[in-house]
Structure formats: structure tokens, C-alpha cells
Subunit: 365 residues, 4 copies
């Protein structure tokens, strides 16, 4: 049904006149048209359009988590928007297949005309990283300079400004830390969990020691493995050790937030924890897809330019390879599986749990 | 290595200032911002960028096939470019999943503000169809008006102009018709093939009739099926019948071009026919992917607006459903499998075949 | 940590000796090995493995919904399992691309050896359809015989037995019908919604009539569209009409269940309706993916055999085409978008709503 | 059309009785059924079925390249079969998404029952690696033992036997080395290419030195980059250096084979080199997809078990991470882009080239 507004035309609404006139191949400008340069431009423009959309969703989610009072409804919407980001990321990865139809030889036809422009100069990609929570100190150096060194002065300013803003990582961490249910009404999650872990490990040790079918060598090997597991848990239960890990960068998530995240993962079947669990899951999904994109992108660059220097003067593939793993933001959530224990070993929740957890979403800080 | 040109900046090269300032949600303009309108704009802009790239590839391939002398090398390049189109199409289909993260209720927040704009007004999509070879007379009527009736006057002109240009379909048909190898040096493909088919059918009939394990009912059923197969082939061998099919629209491809396409399919293992076979295959791929896109798009529209009227005033889903099947361009290539016979039944090629078929690619018309 | 059980070997656990010895190409048996028959066997076996997994998930979900008391937790698990089915379906669709690497000519090498075996004889696929809720009376006839006519006698029995069991469709319908929140504590959803619709339509009419910028022709056209919309809603509000639609097969979902589904869609942002909304969504997803699979499968068959008779003696492509649309099970959920109205027009929920809806999940029948 | 053979039934042809009775969850056997173990079994069985198909294709391609006389037709078929492998690999990667629907907590329900079985014990996966050409000396050690140490004795034998067979890598290398066109009829590819490279580098140096717009620092930087490029090429032109790289493992492909691969990449537009180029491309595709599978698999394992010990007792994620990069087989083909030069700098081919290259495919060794 038509509202009383001037009739809208598809091409005007989408500003196609501008959009479709924004491809100016350098090879054409310099008089040696290279057929594939159009593809090169358009694929990058498509990436930038989608980056804009990702930022649109991230900004909305960040605004949500900046609020002091957070309704459960708002979490549902945040999960929905973060899930949309993952769908976009899947397309970003698929788009690489289109670019891969350009062979290295085709690229060479116009590559020299583009220096020193480079994908490293994508302002929006840097903003995505910063808003997600990739701190400057976690970044790989890029030819011994900061990651933004090749950006224009105004772009550098925007990127650095974004570094100072609260990132999604920090906001989620704060939200986790506020969880009221780590201790309430006589239920102390951490103590219960710790006891359950101790009993599980004790049990495992007894089983190994009493297992007559094992050779001496096998028994020794299994006890060694058990010791490693115990060590892992010991670090989890030792706040001082955790603080040390935070200093060395082995962990990023605060002690309390880690507890909350673990609780959510362990009791995720509780309806009240359904949305929080989906929230943590979709954050790991985003990280995994971003990391997969980095990986596939690095592979593509290797096929495209080999050991050549990138158009932006970077050493290309090795730099990209180095960022894949280290630029994960929610790595601690990835690793939570280390500390999960079987449902059968889980301490039961007190009856009042679910009802009272309504507080979870809208408590005062 | 840097050529002597002014240094290029990523954002300037891609004209990001314009590109990323070309999203103006109507809901913002009218003072009731709807979060999801940004997605709606960007997904459509991404489609239009890719349509531009598809047209870029199609124009290059069309230019190739307009030439009177066609080198084998040129066919290889054409296949490569058409394959790129299929990679783009796969992404276009995946992009629907992003749009599907917008629920019908979210769409309702701004839908009314967009009338009568509609995806039916995409100039570039119509050009893709026309250049591919979707003739006006094959199109479904759209609310009893021409498919371009809702386009602006200048866009209508462009679309109609494209109707008069040689389409890819027509150029490929011409190229097939010129194939020199249907008859040469004493080898008459058509006669050999026809004899092989006759013998195969004769053989099939004898097997059924002599099969003592079949019940009378089964035998009757199998002889009926055989009769249908014979009828199909009869139509293939009868030029008058074929001409009739062309008139009624049951076939589009000329008699001679059909023979050539069949030969290429049957002898595709011959190196000389390798590229022609890949060419026919990629054309069918493009058709299949376009048709799959139409299908998935229609499903999405149904989920999004149900039986409501589309923003452009069309009856939405039913129209879209109707176009899926009927808007295939290379349907005759799809159906070629009907007439393939086992390799063991294929007449052998004369020795001189391969060598002399060099003519295929660059003979005079 | 190792429990005291005899050590397990990967190949034994997966019974690979049997699994990998279960491919016996007929072309090998008959002395004319066809390289591609192995692919043909393995792709079908992979389908059957996944069908088994789909049935495993469906059976669990059906068992859940057969319960009279349904906890919210159980809904979460059901949604999770149904989502897994959608992930499997995506792979089933992708698998077609592997099969498409077999060309029609390669298929002809062994096709005749397989008659009258046919994918139509897949017991598990028929079970998936039946358990989902594809009733016999909704199925397309297959060469004028029942869909199970080519199955072996014991398989026919299983399939027919499954017809008599409660299907997922019926169980979901019952679950929807039991929704307590259509009327409670003074809030009558249906009356409120109906009033909101009436006002919206009234408003639309006034806007059109007072719009001075419209030509007489445009105004007439828009009023016509409005009339169609009104008619759609009238049918929704008229139980007698709905019953008639049920009889003719235009609708499948009962009047009361339709109301509940609509309410869930309209108020899906309410945390209490979050899981029910995801449940309805994933059911539509399953239907859409199944339908997409049918579509892509039909296309592939057309490319593979053209207008030939299928190995099972069916008329192949036309039959497959016919089933795509008509074999949708949750079509009424697909079409719900027809009746959604903007959030701004939605009647507000009473305050007590959310709290009391806890009953929704565990009320007595 | 039915041949005179006993009628075949779908379930018999596919041996579904066995196939669908080969899932025996340990959790059921031990009396504590875990719903998700069925998924765990079936996804691994699906992987093994596809591995069998990959081996089927690889064996056929290996048999082809073992021939001394190789027809061009045979190369086309080999490319086709290798392309099928890539389609299978894409599905193998997608299948991980299904497995990811099993959460770590669900896995814990039955994980302990499976020790010490492990995916590391997949015989077929090891065979795929060995037949591709992953030499034992290139493999990462696995807990300080050989990769096959956890296989059963008979499986170890099969795997070690496969190590001694000619791998695809070696056969392709031999095929490349035999290329007749590196020198013939007065055209010396290597000398021409070398001269072209020298001129290109010389030209680059002059441009930098004469570029008045560069600062001293920029000029220095660019000359440094240029020096790196020159060094890369120097190594390519120095057979002694190449031999040294072969010894240290920095290169795997022989000097002569590298030249041939480079020529094929540089002149890939020549119809005669069309199939060889596709062959090299699909080999890199296979490597890239295998590597991507390893990457995604490692990520999934990290999400599933964190820093826990794998069921087979391995240290899980770190081992898997380490194999991703190092287990590439055709890395030298990946890196060829380093040495490509623009078409405009390419030495022209002699006229007789194409015609005479027919020898390429069927020359005596």
C-alpha cells in the first residue's frame, strides 16, 4: 500500500548513477585496457559495501551493550544482528573464488599501475578489527610500522579514535562480569564446579591405576596425560596465575568473565541461558569466520603473487600468514572447551535459579 | 615495482568516498529509522555491482563471437570469462541468505516507503537477460504489460535497443551452424549417427520381445516406453518437424546447430572438441544458475511478503514462479541428453578428423 | 581420559570393513567396467547415510512433541536438532555438484545395467517425507500408481505404517493449538489483531483516496490492490472459509494453529516467544531446503537424461518438477507473511503476559 | 531400455542392508545412549566413503601418468577426474559445519568411550596423502612417532607400501621434465625468458633511479625491494642453487620440471597448452582445498576439545595446526607466480610451435 510520498524509482533509491560510474580502471586511463581490472575494482568495492554493513550491525550491538540496563529482548536482537554478520562473512569468503578466476598473468597486466595502493589501506576493515577488540598491542607489526601507517592522515585519525572506544570484546567482558548468578542464594557456582572437577580427576586417576589391562608403559603415558589435564585446571583455579596469563597475553578475558562464560557453556540447556549461550557462540563464529577469511585470503595472495612484494610494498604472504592466528579476538571463548566437564558430573542447580535469573539481564551495575 | 605515476591511494582508486556515501535510507529521511533498511540497500547495490561485472564479461564474449574468424585461443578465453560469470552467480545465490536474515516484520518497518520502486526495475538485470538471448516473445507478461513497462523512459530505450542486438544465443547458434565437420571427407556425421540410433532401437526392441522373464503386462509397458523414445528421435531426424517446433517455441536452436551441438557432446573426448564442449557446458551452467537464482529468489519473496502485492505492484511470487522455467535460454542444450547414445554405439571418426578440424575455428562464413 | 573398556580401533568403531566393501559396480560384474559407476554408487550411499541421520533427529523431535508436558528446555533441544537437519540438507544440495561431474555420456556406459532400480525406491527418503507430514493425498501420482508402488513388499509396509503415525506437522499443529496465550487475562489476541488490521486497511484506503498526486488510473489500480489485500484478510477472519480451504487443500493448518503461529511471528521479540519463533522458522527452513533439493535434483536429472525415461521407468524430469511445489509441508507457515502487520500497528501486550506464558510450555492438554 | 538382466532393486544395488546397519554407538552398548554419537559415526563414515571415491579417481590418474605414451585425450580425462576430486573436497569442508552442530558438551557424553580410537587412524586419508606425494620425510612427527604408528599392523603395511609407489607428484614431475618444447627448432625458452627477465629488471631499476618524485628514503626502499626480486630470479637461474634448495626442502620440484611448469603458465593461452595449464591448476586447487580442510578441521577440534588431549592421545590442535602449511605437496606450483612476467615482456613463440607441440603428449621418453 502506497504512502503519500513522491514515487520512488529503483535506480534513484539505490543511487545507481553514482554507484555504477565509480569504476575507473587505471589501465584504461593509461591507454592499455586490461580486461580483468574491472573485476579487481568491483570485487574490492563489493567488499567495502559489505564492510559498511558489518560496521552498521556492530555499531548497533555495541550501543546495546553500552547500556547499563540490558533487557533480555535486547540480547535476542543482538544475537540476530551478529548472526547476520556471520552470513555476510560467508559471502566474503565465497567472493574469493570469483577473484581467483583472475590468473597471476592477468593481474600482471595492470598490477604495476596500482602502487602503492593496497588492501592494507582499507579503513573499514581496520575499524571492524578495532571495534571487535583487536588491540594495537596484539597486532603483528607490518614492515616494522604500525598497521595504520599507510593510511591517509584523516583515516589514521579515525582508526586511532576507534582504538580508544570500548570494543565489543570489552563490553561483552563487562557484561559477563556482571552476571549475578555466580554466587546467589547459597549456590556458589565456582566452588561446586571446582569440587566436581576434583572428583572427576580423582576418579580418572583411580581408573587408570586400577586398570589391569594396561601395560606399564601405557599406564605411565596415561598418567602423564592426566597430569597435563590437572595442570590446565590448576591454572583455571588460580587467580594469580590467570593475572599472569593476562600480562603475558596468553589470556585476554578477565578471571570473573571467564567463570561466567564457563557457567553459560555448562548450563546452556537452561532456557534462561539459551540466549547468552547463543551470544557467546556467535562471537566465536565471527572470530572463526574472520580467521578463515584471513587464511583463504593469504592462500589466494600466495597463488597470485608468489613471493613477490605486494602492491603496497608489504612482504605479502608471510605477513598475512602471521596475522591469521594471532588476530583472533575471542580466543579464550574458543578454548573454553578445555574446561567443560560431562553433564553427569555437573553440580545440580538450585531450584530458584531459573526464576531469579531474570535479574541477569536487567540488574543495575 | 613502481612505475612513474602519481602514488595511488586505495580509497581513491575505488572511489570509496562516493561508494560509501550512496546509502540513504528512506526511513531515516522520513524520521523513523529502520535498522534493516541499510541491509536492504546494500544487498541490492552489491547485486548491481556484480551485474555490471557480468555485463562486462558478456560484452567481451559477444564481441568475440561477432568476429568472422575465430581463433581457438579466443574460445579458451571466452570459456574462461563465462566461467567467471558462473562464479559470480554462485555468490549472487549465496547473498540471498544474507537478505533472509531480514524477517518479514523488519521489512514492514520501511516497505511502504519504497513504493513503487521494485527489483523489477533493474536495468542491468534486463540487459543480462537480453544479451543472453531472452527474446521478448519468450517472456512472461507482467501484469499484462511488457517487462520494461516500469522502467524510466531512458532505461526503456536502452533495454529495447539491447533486444535488437545479436544475443549470445544467436551468436553461439551461428557459430555452431558453421561447424565444418558435420560433413567432410566422406564422413557424414548425421547419417552415421542416424544409422547408429536405428540399430540401437532395433536392438532394444528385439531384446524386449525375446525376454522370456517379462510378464505380458511388463512387456507391453516396455514396448510403450520404447515407442516414446523412437518418437523423440523421429522428431530429431525430421527437419520439417523441427521447423514446426521452432514455430511453436518447443525448440529454439536451429536444426543444423542442434546437430553440431550433439556432435560436440558425443565426441567431446576428442582434444579438438574439448573447448567447444566446455563452451556448451558453461552456457548450460549459466542458465542453470540463473534459473536457480530465480527459484531461490521467488522462495525468499514468498517468505518475505507472502501473498501480498510487491512494492512495484506486481503479484510477487506467482509471477516470479512463472518465469523460472520459461526464461531458460539454452534449454535445448539442457535437453541434448535425450539424444546421446552410448560411446560403444558411436560411429568411429575418420582418421583425418582431428587434424582437419583446425578449420572449425577460423573458417570463413 | 581412558575409561576401562577394551581399546577401540577407528576402523572397527566405524565398521569400515563392511562399509568400504559395499560398492559392487554392475559394470564390473558384467565385465565392462565403467569408471564412473563407483561415483554413482558412493554418492547414493552418502545420501542414504545422511537420510539415516535426518531420521535419527526427526524421530527424537517427534518423540519430544508426543509428550503431553513439554518443558521449554525441550523446545530448545528440538530447535537444535532441527537446525542440524538444515545443515545436513545444505550438504545434500552441495553433493549434487559432485554428481554433476558425471556427464550424460559417462552415465550411459552403465545406465542400462541398473533397471529398474531407481532413486524413487529410497525407503528412507519416503520415511523422511512421511514423518515430516507429506500426506498420501497430497502427493503427485507417479505413473498413475502410488509413490510406494515400486518398493519391495516389506518396504511398502514400513512406508505405509509411517503414514499412520503422527507426523511432525500434526504434532506441531497440536502444540500450536494448545497455546494458552490466545486469550487470557482479558487479552484477546485475535480481537486486538483484527481491530488493528481493520484500522490499517481503513487508513490505507483514506491515504489513497486523498492522494492528489495520483492519476485517476493509478488511484483505480491502487484501490484494486487494496481490495485484494482486504479479501485475503477476510478469509483469515472467517472460520467457515478456512474450513473450506482445508477441504480443498489450499490450507493445511487448522484455524486455531494458524492464529497461534501468527501471534508467535508478530510478537517474536518477546523472550518467551523466542524459541517458539525459532522453531517455526527452522521448520520453514527445512521445507525450503527440501524443496530446493527437489528443484536442483530435477535440473540435474534433466541435464543427465533429457527427455528419456528414468531407470525406474518414470517420466523423469516432468514428474520431479511437479513435486517441487506441491510437496511442501509447511506451506502455510511460508505464507504467514501475508498477514503480518507493522510493529507500530501491533496491539500492546498486557504486562502479565510474559510471566504467565511459562504455562505455554508445560500446560496440561 | 531394459537389458536382459535380473531386475535390480535400489536397496540391493547399494547394499543398504549392510550400510545402514553399520552404526553401533558405544554409548548404546554401554547402556547410556548419547543422542549425538550417531552423528559422530555417520559423519566419519561419510568421510570414509568420499575418501574411497577420491582414491578411485587418484588411482585412475596415476595409472594414466605411468604410461610412457600419453595421448592428449588422456590428459583431458585426467583433468576431469582431478576436478571431480576438488568438488568432493568442497563437500568434505562443508560437512564440518554439520559436525559443528555437536557442542563440546554433547561430545563429552561419549568421548571417553572411544579411546584410543582417533581420526589419525584413517587408513584411507593416509593413502590419499601418500598417493598425492606427501613424503614421510616431509611429515610432522606425531608425538615423536611416525604418522602411522597408531595404525593396526596390516594397515601400517598398506600405508608403507604406498610410500614406495610412484606418487602423483613424481609422475607429474616426470611428465613435465619430458616436455619437448623447452628447446626446439631454434627456440630456447629458457634463454629467451632469462633475457626478458633481465631486461625487465634493468628497466625497473632505471625507472626508480630516474624518478624525481621519490624522496631519498623512498628510493632506497624501492631499490631494496628490487634487489630482493633480483635475488629470487637469480636462484631460479642457478641450477646449483636449485639443487641446494631441493636438499634443504625449500623446493621439491626438479629444475627442468620447474622450467616446464613456468612455460606452461606463461603461455597458457596457447590452445596446445590449454589442458596442461588446467592440469597444473587443478593440482594446486587440490592442494589448496586439502590445506583448507586441514585448517577448518583444526579450528573445529579447538572449539570441540580446547587444549584437551585428543581421543587418540595426541595433543590435538597444535599438531593439526603444524601440518596445515607443511603438508602442502604442490607448493612449488603455488609459488610459480613469483616468476611470472607480464605478457608484454614475454618472448614471442616461433610460428611452428603450436603445430609441432603435438609431440608433447605422445613422445617417447
Amino acid at each position: 500500500m502506497q504512502r503519500p510520498h513522491p514515487p520512488l524509482y529503483y535506480a534513484d533509491y539505490l543511487q545507481l548513477d553514482r554507484l555504477l560510474a565509480s569504476q575507473s580502471p587505471k589501465s584504461v586511463e593509461y591507454g592499455k585496457p586490461a580486461h580483468d581490472e574491472m573485476l579487481f575494482i568491483i570485487v574490492h568495492q563489493a567488499y567495502e559495501l559489505w564492510f559498511k554493513q558489518i560496521l552498521h550491525e556492530m555499531d548497533a550491538v555495541i550501543a546495546t551493550f553500552k547500556q547499563d540496563y540490558l533487557e533480555e529482548k535486547a540480547i535476542g536482537i543482538a544475537v540476530h544482528r551478529l548472526s547476520r554478520i556471520t552470513e555476510i562473512q560467508k559471502v566474503l569468503i565465497e567472493q574469493l573464488r570469483i577473484l581467483e578466476t583472475m590468473t597471476p598473468l592477468d593481474f600482471l597486466e595492470f598490477r604495476d599501475l596500482l602502487t602503492p595502493a593496497s588492501g592494507f589501506q582499507s579503513l573499514q576493515f581496520r575499524l571492524v578489527e578495532n571495534k571487535l577488540g583487536l588491540k594495537p598491542e596484539l597486532r603483528k607489526m607490518y614492515d616494522k610500522t604500525a598497521y595504520y601507517s599507510r593510511l591517509s592522515a584523516p583515516h589514521q585519525e579515525i582508526v586511532q579514535e576507534a582504538e580508544t572506544e570500548k570494543s565489543l570484546f570489552e563490553l561483552i567482558e563487562r557484561w559477563l562480569e556482571r552476571t549475578p548468578f555466580l554466587e546467589f542464594q547459597g549456590f556458589n557456582f565456582w566452588a561446586s564446579y571446582r569440587a566436581a572437577v576434583a572428583q572427576m580427576l580423582e576418579n580418572d586417576r583411580r581408573i587408570v591405576q586400577n586398570n589391569a589391562t594396561l601395560s606399564a608403559e601405557e599406564k605411565k603415558q596415561q598418567l602423564l596425560e592426566l597430569a597435563k589435564t590437572e595442570e590446565n585446571f590448576a591454572a583455571l583455579f588460580d587467580e594469580e596465575k590467570h593475572r599472569q596469563f593476562l600480562r603475558t597475553g596468553q589470556r585476554r578475558l578477565s578471571y570473573r568473565a571467564t567463570h561466567a562464560a564457563l557457567l553459560i557453556n555448562l548450563y546452556r540447556d537452561e532456557p534462561i541461558l539459551h540466549l547468552p549461550f547463543r551470544l557467546l557462540t556467535v562471537l566465536v563464529d565471527i572470530d572463526e569466520l574472520l580467521t578463515t577469511w584471513r587464511y583463504r585470503h593469504a592462500l589466494m595472495v600466495q597463488r597470485m603473487i608468489g613471493a613477490k612484494i605486494g602492491t603496497g610494498g608489504s612482504s605479502g604472504y608471510p605477513y598475512l600468514r602471521a596475522t591469521i592466528e594471532s588476530h583472533k579476538v575471542f580466543g579464550d571463548l574458543f578454548n573454553l572447551a578445555t574446561f567443560l566437564i560431562p553433564r553427569s558430573a555437573l553440580p545440580a542447580l538450585p531450584e530458584a535459579f531459573e526464576k531469579n535469573l531474570g535479574f541477569f539481564y536487567n540488574q543495575k551495575p
